[in-house]
Structures are given as structure tokens and as C-alpha cells.
């Protein structure tokens, strides 16, 4: 190669370094990834953590037997927790409260906000079922004292009682309370409280690992072009776009 061309090539390289990002090919990338060692037991624990936190008790039991991974929690408590969650989701709030109290009486005794939200959900269900008289009595006797203890409870209570004021509740400003999402919100709040009382984190670790993966890729995007994972479901490496 003549000196002239070699200089031109070097210049081009310098220019590439200045204007565009470092390029990592699929081969290089896969080689790098292969060097990262991950222990099988850690993988199993992550899966078990997901099953336990999300409450897949039968799957967890099977997985325990097949993989020999011990869950960090008594699997029986998952059944109880899921029963509570399910009761709230299907509108049987009173039943849910009794189940929580059997599981651990401290949870609702020391968590006024959760207790209020469960009682509020009970009121919502009474209104949904058209038991207006009972709803009023319940609001008066059970919820009003909580409102006196706490300003923000009072505001929420007023919003809930407002359900009785509208003819077309669904299209009213408080219609969201009757939505199924309200039940899910309350159910997830109880679920989290039970998990916390069992010294268990309320969120599984797997989603946060994936979040971290996406975040790290976004950081890396600014510096390099590399085979990234865009589709989490297939987790395929896509060729870098240069």
C-alpha cells in the first residue's frame, strides 16, 4: 500500500472515531458474553423468587421438587396470601380481612392506611351491589372514625361516599372507584403488606434485572453500536446498525 493510501486510511479511522461510535460485531459480543459466568443455582433462585412473589404456589412446589431449589418462605403462606388477594379481587373484602387477621393480626393493627383502604373497598362493594342503606351505615360507623383520625382518609372517604350522589356513576368524576382497577390496587396493597410482614420483598427480582438490562443498554447506546436485545420476550441479539 502506498504511503498516500495508508495516510488516507488513518485519517478516515480518526474521523470515524471522532464522529461515530465504536462498533462491536456480533462475534466479538458473543465472545464477551460467553466469558460472563452465571451459576445455575442463582438462576434457579431467581425463578423461585419470581414464582413465590407472584404467588404461583403449585409451580413453585413443582419447581422445588424438580430443581431442588428451596424457597425462602413457607410455601403454605403463599396459598394464604393468594387467597386473600383473590378475595379482594373478587370483591369479598370482609372475607379478605378475616383471612389477613388469621394470617397475622399485626398487619392491619399496625397499618392504618391499608386497613382504611380495605374498609373503603368494602364500602365500594356495598355501593356496587346497591346496598345503599347498609353502605351508609357502614360509612358512618366504620369509616367516619378513621376520617376523624386522619385528614387524607377523610378526603378519600368523601370521594367514596360521593358515589351515592351520581345517577350515572360510571361517567362521574369518581367513577374510577368502581373500576376493576381499584380492586386490583387494593389487592396489590394487601399482597405487598403480607409479603413485607413475612420479611419478603414485595417485588420479584426478575423484572428489576430486566429493567437494569434495558437501562444499561440505553447507556451503552450513546457510546457504541453493538448487538442489543430489543425484544425481551425472544431475547435475540439484533445486529448493530452502523
Amino acid at each position: 500500500m502506498s504511503l498516500f493510501w495508508s495516510v488516507i486510511r488513518q485519517l478516515a479511522e480518526i474521523e470515524a472515531m471522532a464522529t461515530s461510535k465504536k462498533v462491536i460485531t456480533r462475534d466479538e459480543w458473543e465472545k464477551k458474553l460467553n466469558d460472563v459466568k452465571i451459576r445455575k443455582e442463582d438462576m434457579n433462585k431467581l425463578v423461585m423468587n419470581f414464582l413465590v412473589t407472584e404467588g404461583y404456589v403449585d409451580a413453585a412446589e413443582k419447581f422445588r421438587m424438580e430443581s431442588g431449589t428451596e424457597p425462602d418462605i413457607d410455601l403454605a403462606t403463599i396459598t394464604d396470601r393468594m387467597a386473600v388477594k383473590k378475595a379482594v379481587q373478587s370483591g369479598n373484602v370482609e372475607d379478605a380481612i378475616e383471612k389477613v387477621n388469621d394470617l397475622n393480626p399485626e398487619i392491619l393493627d399496625t397499618n392504618p392506611q391499608l386497613f382504611f383502604h380495605l374498609q373503603q373497598q368494602r364500602l365500594i362493594e356495598l355501593i356496587r351491589n346497591g346496598k345503599i342503606e347498609e353502605a351508609l351505615e357502614f360509612a358512618q360507623e366504620e369509616l367516619a372514625p378513621r376520617g376523624e383520625e386522619n385528614q387524607s382518609f377523610l378526603e378519600e372517604l368523601e370521594r367514596t361516599v360521593a358515589l351515592l350522589a351520581f345517577e350515572d356513576v360510571k361517567n362521574s368524576p369518581v367513577g374510577d372507584l368502581l373500576d376493576i382497577s381499584q380492586r386490583l390496587k387494593t389487592a396489590s396493597e394487601v399482597n405487598a403488606a403480607i409479603l413485607t410482614s413475612q420479611s419478603h420483598e414485595k417485588d420479584p427480582k426478575l423484572p428489576s434485572l430486566l429493567r437494569m438490562l434495558l437501562w444499561a443498554q440505553n447507556q451503552l447506546d450513546e457510546k457504541a453500536a453493538y448487538p442489543r436485545i430489543t425484544d425481551l420476550f425472544t431475547a435475540t441479539l439484533e445486529d448493530p446498525t452502523v
Binding site: E98, E106, D109, N111, E134, F138, P145, Q151
Partner: protein, 660 residues
């Protein structure tokens, strides 16, 4: 049944069924207990109404008569009793009065873990209340029992052990007994356990080491680095409450040992880290954030270096910003004011930020009328420390009606601690330049200060006199007269002879400021000749240097007056008839430099060569041995004394050296 579901939920109906269940027994017991339990959990109002209706004794009677083989009945009883005791002191009392305690203790040795859980939970609830009986750590078997609890592999049982400690350990001796029995080590081991174990262990750990340097040096020192390391590690824990508790323990360790030789937590890195952790916790608007504020203020309270670190971490901006939020709870306000108060006690930049922050001063002064006593105290102390800024004080920043009126109002507060805080603030605010003082006087502040100077409470009295003293500082003649009229002669002489030397010191300082300034001010001392005599008597009688210094400066100020006044001072200081050494010589020989300075200044004023009696005074002083004493002092180690001694000797010499 004709009645709807809700009528059977009425307390009276349920109580009826509970009573009959307790009497006849059978299956009904379990059902009615469970119903009661579900009624009261989380519901304070219902707990109180059932307690009133006498539900607790019925439940305890079911528990006491239950066979130990009916596990579910035992569990329901314990859970119900526990809930009655949870968060309601009247419930704890009812439970204890009904004799539940020994039955619950029995449950701890049951073979079914769920029964043990329920019993331990109920007992833990009892011990989390102030109404619980004090646990006697001085009995050996009690310590053994406590340790057996901490050794159990059950988080409710270990939690019970920790709650007992947190509730009952108060004195240094109790702390020592527990530490010597190895309890600290057990608590540290429990830090490896569940979240609730970690939190309850940290709480009792803090209780055992609180203000006890002996226990800390013995059990938490560098040789126990694992303990220290574990605590540091936990400041990074994922649970805010755990981080807070770890910070509390480290703060207690630092505060208890900061004055001793083996002080821990000196590393700037760790100190900064701790401040940052606490500041982050302050963002939590619940109990954790509140406690983080109090921990932060106690961490930085007595060390300017730490206040600087906290300042550099933007604590002041953060708190000024946070206090602007609407509807803050009382605890939060108290915490913000306390921490800002700490920061502003020494650092001018902190005061500047507060004073320049929009509305901060308004929010602080508004809080002076808050309904909660502790908030009023904290706001008042905060105002005091902010007003230590000479720059803003002398610019008249605080002598406005908006600030002064609520402060004066606090002087009338029913709480002594508020009064004392207000007095300290007044003391600070009135050291203002003379033009601004009249506002305070016109607003009726003096009358109340005088009233409080007669208080039976020695702290109130002391601070009231102190405030009057500062008010009298550099004040114009008209104001002086008004203050003196309010104060009156006899109360003042009584204060000068008070049994408390600190009160005396301030009262004499007040007199000093009274006679300072225009020559005619000195006349106050000669009203019926009483004040000067009283001051003279204290000079001969008092032993505290601070009192003597102030008394001597009164004499010094008077001696700066005309012939008549100078002679009066001579009479007080030099007694010709007495063969004993005169008081002025004794005082010149004091070890306390500031006292020697005051005396020499007085001699300087007495020996000023102009004036008809100057020569006679010099002769008298010489005869009393003052001149020869002064000659011994020409090389006094205190520069101030040395210089004045030379002036005094020079003046005496103008009349010739009599020593030859």
C-alpha cells in the same frame, strides 16, 4: 333471624354472646372470639367501646380455662388480647387488670409454634405500650428468661425480648447488667435475621448504649469491629427504618464518646455519609423522616465541624424548602426547626440562607403560636439562633412587630420550657442597637420580664434577668428609666443577693449596664444608697469569680463618675478601720485574670490625677497596700492586666513615689 347482619355486629349483641360463650363453652367460643377479633383489629374506636363494655375479662377467662390442647382457641384468645393491647393504653391496662399476663407467658412454651407466635405477639404489644409494667432486670432469673427469649428461633419471641428491653431499660445500671449478660452480642447476631428482628434488635441495642460511654467502650469499641461494621453496613440497608435505626445507634455511639479520649466516628467520610443517609430519609414524610430529622440534629448539635458538613450537604436549603410545604405535621415542624436551630447556632452562612429564603422567617414566627408546645419551643430556639447573625440583627431585621409580638406573647405561655426558650430569644433580640429597643419596651415586654424575674423556677428567673441585662445594654436614658421604673429597687437588690450565683452574675451585669453610659446613669445606684451597698456586700461575700467580676465592673463604672461617686467606691473597697487586708488587695491577688483586669480598671478610674480628692485616694490606696500589690503585678501574665497596672501605677506616681 329478623335482624340484618349489621345489628348482630353491634357491640352489645356481641358482648352478650361472648359472655354466654365464656360461661357455657362449646363451639360457640371460637366463633364469637374470631368475630370480636375481626371487629377490633385496626379499629381504635371499637377497641375502646368493647373495653368499656368489659369484653377483656371475658376473653381472658376463656383463655385461662382453655385446655392447652385446643390450639385454635388459644390462638384466637391471644390474638384478641394482643389486638386490645395494640396501640391503646387503656387496652393494655384492661388486659393486665384481667390477669392475662401469666397465661400469655405460658403460651410461650407451647409445642405448637403458631400458639407461641400468638402469645409472643400479644406480649410484645403489651411491652410496646408505656402502660406496661417495668421488667426487673436486677433479678437473675429475669435476665435468664430474657436471654432465653432472644435465643429462640422465632421472630415474634425474639421481638418480644427486644421489646422488653426497649420498654424497661432506663438507668445506666440496667444498661450495664444487660451488656454484661451478653445481650448486646445476641442483639448483634439477630441483625442477620428477618427485617422485623433487625429493627427490634437495633431499637433495643440503642436503648442499651444510650448515653453510656462505659458500655460503649467495653462492647462497641474498635476491638468489636464487627459490631461497628454491621451498623455501618445497615446504614445502606434497603429498608428506610433499618437505615434510620442504624444511624440512631451510630449517633448515640458518637455522642456518648465524643468527650472521652477514645472517641469513635471521627472519619470525615463516615460522618458525611451518615449525614447524607439521614438527609435522604428526611424525604420520607412519615415517622421515619421525622425521626431522621431529630437524629440529624442530635448528631450535629455539639460539633461545629459536623454542622459545617451538614451545611455543605445542603441541609439548610433542603429544610427551608421543606418547611414551605403546607399542612406539615407538628413533629415534622419541630424537627425542621430543631435542626435549623442547631445549624444556625454557629454558622453565619446558614443564618443567611434562612433569612434570604422566601417566607422562612414568616413560617418560623408563625410557628411561635402553634398549638403544640414542642413546636413553639423549637421555633423559638430556631429564631434565637438565626438572630445570632450580627449583620441581620444590627440591621433591625428582627425588631419588627411581626417578630417581637409573638415572642412577647410566649413570655406569658403556660409552659415553662416555652417561657425559657422565649426568654433566651428575647435576650438575643434585644442586644440590638438602641433605636430598635423602644419597640420591645412599648409592647409591654419589660413588665413581663420583671414578672418572670420573680419566678420560683430558677431557670425562668435566670433567663429573665439575663434578658433584662441585655435589654439594658447600650439603651438610651429614657428607656433606661422606664426599665428601672418597672424593675424597682428592692427586687433588684434581692436579685443581686440571690442564692443562685448565676442569677447574681446576670443581675450584677444588669446593674453594670444600668450605670454604663451618661454620667447621670450612675445616680440609679445612689437611690437610697442601697444598690451600691448591696454590690459592695457581694464583693466581700461572694466566692464565684463571675459574680465578683460583674460586681467589680459595677464599681469600676461608678468610679468613672465624679468625686462623690469615686469616694463612695473607696468606702466600699478600702476599709481604713479594719486591720485585715482590704478587699481590693485580696481581689487583685485572684487567680482569675478577668477579675484582676476589672479590679485594676477600677484602680485606674480611682487614681485619675484630676479632681480634688485624687491625692487623698492615692494615699489611702497606698496605705491599704494596693500600690505595692500593683508593683508585684507589673509583669502579670495577662497582657490586659499588665497594661492597666502600668497605667494605674503611672497615675499614682504623678503625686510622687511615696515608697522612698
Amino acid at each position: 333471624m329478623p335482624g340484618s347482619a349489621s345489628t348482630t355486629h353491634r357491640p352489645e349483641g356481641l358482648i352478650e354472646r361472648l359472655r354466654s360463650a365464656a360461661a357455657d363453652g362449646g363451639e360457640a367460643k371460637l366463633k364469637v372470639l374470631r368475630e370480636l377479633k375481626n371487629q377490633i383489629i385496626g379499629n381504635r374506636t371499637k377497641k375502646l367501646s368493647y373495653i368499656k363494655l368489659g369484653a377483656v375479662p371475658s376473653v381472658v377467662s376463656i383463655l385461662s380455662s382453655a385446655s392447652s390442647s385446643v390450639d385454635c382457641l388459644l390462638i384466637q384468645c391471644a390474638a384478641t388480647i394482643g389486638s386490645f393491647a395494640c396501640g391503646v393504653d387503656a387496652g393494655v391496662k384492661a388486659v393486665l387488670d384481667a390477669g392475662a399476663f401469666p397465661h400469655l407467658i405460658n403460651l410461650l412454651s407451647h409445642s405448637n409454634e403458631k400458639v407461641v407466635d400468638a402469645g409472643a405477639r400479644a406480649l410484645k404489644m403489651i411491652y410496646q405500650s408505656k402502660a406496661a409494667p417495668k421488667y426487673d432486670f436486677f433479678q437473675h432469673k429475669n435476665i435468664e428468661f430474657l436471654i432465653s427469649l432472644l435465643d429462640k428461633n422465632n421472630e415474634n419471641v425474639t421481638g418480644l425480648g427486644a421489646s422488653i428491653i426497649t420498654h424497661s431499660c432506663e438507668t445506666n445500671n440496667e444498661q450495664k447488667i444487660l451488656a454484661d449478660a451478653g445481650v448486646l452480642k445476641k442483639l448483634i447476631n439477630l441483625l442477620q435475621g428477618t427485617t422485623s428482628q433487625r429493627e427490634s434488635s437495633l431499637e433495643s441495642f440503642a436503648t442499651i448504649i444510650k448515653q453510656n460511654p462505659e458500655v460503649i467502650t467495653k462492647f462497641v469499641g474498635p476491638e468489636n469491629s464487627t459490631t461497628f461494621g454491621s451498623l455501618l453496613e445497615l446504614t445502606k440497608d434497603r429498608y428506610p427504618r433499618t437505615r434510620l435505626l442504624a444511624c440512631i445507634c451510630l449517633t448515640l455511639i458518637k455522642n456518648a464518646t465524643s468527650s472521652s479520649s477514645s472517641s469513635y466516628l471521627q472519619s470525615v467520610g463516615i460522618r458525611t455519609k451518615l449525614i447524607l443517609v439521614l438527609l435522604e430519609l428526611v424525604d420520607d414524610f412519615g415517622q421515619v423522616g421525622d425521626e431522621a430529622l431529630f437524629t440529624l440534629s442530635s448528631f450535629i448539635e455539639h460539633e461545629e465541624d459536623l454542622q459545617k458538613l451538614a451545611f455543605e450537604a445542603n441541609t439548610v436549603d433542603k429544610l427551608c424548602h421543606q418547611m414551605q410545604k403546607e399542612s406539615l405535621q407538628a413533629k415534622r415542624l419541630e424537627g425542621i426547626f430543631t435542626t435549623l436551630g442547631s445549624l444556625c447556632s454557629n454558622l453565619e452562612p446558614c443564618r443567611s440562607i434562612v433569612l434570604q429564603s422566601p417566607k422562612a422567617l414568616i413560617i418560623i414566627t408563625d410557628a411561635l403560636t402553634h398549638t403544640t408546645t414542642d413546636v413553639r419551643v423549637a421555633a423559638c430556639i430556631c429564631l434565637k439562633n438565626v438572630s445570632r447573625s450580627v449583620k441581620y440583627l444590627s440591621a433591625g431585621h428582627f425588631m419588627t412587630e411581626a417578630v417581637i409580638m409573638p415572642v412577647i406573647q410566649l413570655l406569658y405561655d403556660a409552659s415553662t420550657s416555652v417561657q425559657v426558650a422565649a426568654l433566651c430569644t428575647v435576650s438575643n433580640l434585644v442586644v440590638d442597637f438602641r433605636t430598635h429597643k423602644s419597640l420591645f419596651i412599648q409592647s409591654g415586654g419589660v413588665k413581663q420580664l420583671v414578672e418572670l424575674s420573680k419566678s420560683m423556677d430558677s431557670t425562668v428567673k435566670l433567663n429573665a434577668v439575663w434578658a433584662l441585662r441585655n435589654l439594658m445594654f447600650l439603651v438610651d436614658s429614657r428607656c433606661k428609666e422606664e426599665i428601672f421604673m418597672d424593675l424597682k429597687l428592692f427586687p433588684l437588690t434581692r436579685l443581686i443577693s440571690d442564692s443562685n450565683a448565676c442569677v447574681q452574675e446576670q443581675a450584677l451585669g444588669l446593674v453594670c449596664n444600668l450605670v454604663n453610659g451618661p454620667v447621670d446613669s450612675i445616680m440609679y445606684l445612689f437611690t437610697e444608697g442601697l444598690l451600691l451597698n448591696t454590690v459592695g456586700r457581694e464583693l466581700r461575700r461572694a466566692s464565684k469569680p463571675q459574680v465578683l467580676v460583674q460586681a467589680m465592673y459595677v464599681m469600676c463604672n461608678v468610679a468613672s463618675g465624679k468625686e462623690f461617686e469615686k469616694e463612695a467606691v473607696m468606702q466600699q473597697l478600702v476599709n481604713e478601720d479594719d486591720n485585715n487586708q482590704s478587699i481590693i488587695v485580696t481581689l487583685l491577688q485572684s487567680d482569675v485574670a478577668s477579675l484582676r483586669t476589672a479590679v485594676v480598671w477600677t484602680v485606674v478610674n480611682l487614681t485619675i490625677p484630676t479632681g480634688a480628692g485624687a491625692l487623698a485616694r492615692v494615699v489611702k490606696l497606698r496605705n491599704a497596700g494596693v500600690v505595692s500589690q500593683l508593683k508585684n503585678m507589673v509583669n502579670d501574665p495577662c497582657l490586659d492586666v499588665k497594661l492597666r497596672v502600668r497605667t494605674a501605677l503611672g497615675q499614682s506616681m504623678t503625686f510622687g513615689d511615696f515608697s522612698t
